[in-house]
Symmetry: C2
Subunit: 243 residues, 2 copies
């Protein structure tokens, strides 16, 4: 039987989603909890990896398990065993054809920036600190140039794979509330470190280091350069996966 | 020269404000940073202690220091040396008669409750989790009975001191937004653990364990009992000190 689960986590203490040697990851922690509850060795498949320090409000994963346990009890058991920085919000029985990554239609990420001279102690884990004032109307204009179907090679870190780099960016909104700037992005597929690269570039447009038109220029260039830094992970949230 | 400073902190990792042996406290951490910056041993005086795990949005303290440093530079230096979970938001020169505790006119605390079945991973450090639904209109009615000048002996933990227990509670508001309940309180003086005791009692009124009128009854009783539990520290914030 296949299960779909919706997971929230605080990525601060983890080396990202994906299992790796000599580091504690989210995937591994959930798999261990599942084994503890079910007595079986279970592999879970996420909708995608999140990097070290990145958070998730609504990561989705699937796993296969033959059990007579009700989903409510499975969920309760998992939350009782998991550390408090990982929470299972939902478990549903799904058709065997469901796949957390392959069935996903699109994903929304949100990135939070605190834009002011002193980073508040109580917001430090969930926002990135940018001291210099950012001009959000400039950021919005550059973002508009990036939305749509483009080759995003300049806005990703190659993993040395021969992956096609054309993607459809459905949404790239820049919102402001007080000293907090929020960047929302939605796409049917992201390249490696694409969201943090888009944010890193928009920050440079916002602080005046790059003109707005660089957005189009860099899309044309199709090659990563120092003009596109990777923004820090702790402001980034995998917000929602759409199926 | 006397300085007044406004401090924000995340109390999660500290054994409270006040210096004590074999534990790291906020006061001690700031004093060490001040010594590092100024080369002198400096004692800081807070507006009051906060318990282990309690946060502050606007704690105020004063200290004496003879220096030619500008306050802006003193502040920058301190924030550079301090861990990120303590931030100095302001340093001002004040008259020698200013005293962070004795000059305070009143203090506002805010307490945050997450009221729902599953505690969100990303809110766990700053809210207390109450699973059972709380009736905020009942809590509001009980709160109304507690506002004003009363003997709050039933709502504090005696420290074995012969302290007078009559206080003026200027504000005790119960706000609700989504699944978050916020309790705001303002007073010219609090007894030991008074805010957490008031919150602990209001939670019992909200979940139906106590009738609304218990508020008046307990004020009359003037003696701590099991009917007034102390709410967890991590939902509590020293929000603002008024002078």
């Amino acid at each position: 039987m296949r299960y779909k689960t919706t997971i929230e986590y605080d990525g601060t203490q983890y080396a990202g989603w994906q299992i790796q040697p000599n580091a504690i990851t989210i995937q591994e922690t959930i798999q261990q909890a599942l084994s503890e509850i079910s007595g079986k060795s279970i592999k879970i498949h996420g909708s995608g990896r999140t990097d070290q320090g990145v958070h998730a409000k609504g990561q989705v994963a699937h796993f296969d398990l033959d059990t007579s346990m009700q989903t409510k009890n499975l969920q309760r058991g998992l939350n009782a065993v998991l550390p408090r920085d990982i929470r299972i919000h939902k478990i549903e029985r799904v058709h065997d054809s469901f796949h957390a990554r392959r069935s996903a239609v699109s994903k929304q990420y949100r990135y939070f920036i605190y834009n002011g001279p002193i980073m508040p102690a109580l917001e430090r884990l969930y926002k990135t600190h940018i001291r210099h004032p950012l001009d959000t109307s400039r950021m919005r204009e550059a973002a508009r140039l990036l939305v749509g179907e483009h080759d995003f090679a300049s806005f990703s870190s190659s993993r040395g794979e021969d992956e096609p780099t054309v993607r459809i960016l459905e949404q790239l909104d820049v919102l402001k509330s007080g000293r907090t700037i929020e960047i929302r992005t939605r796409s049917n597929g992201y390249l490696y470190k694409m969201v943090r690269s888009l944010v890193g570039f928009l920050i440079r447009v916002g602080d005046g280091s790059e003109p707005i038109e660089s957005a189009s220029e860099l899309l044309e260039q199709k090659r990563r350069s120092a003009r596109v830094p990777t923004a820090h992970p702790q402001g980034l949230f995998l917000w929602r996966v759409y199926y």
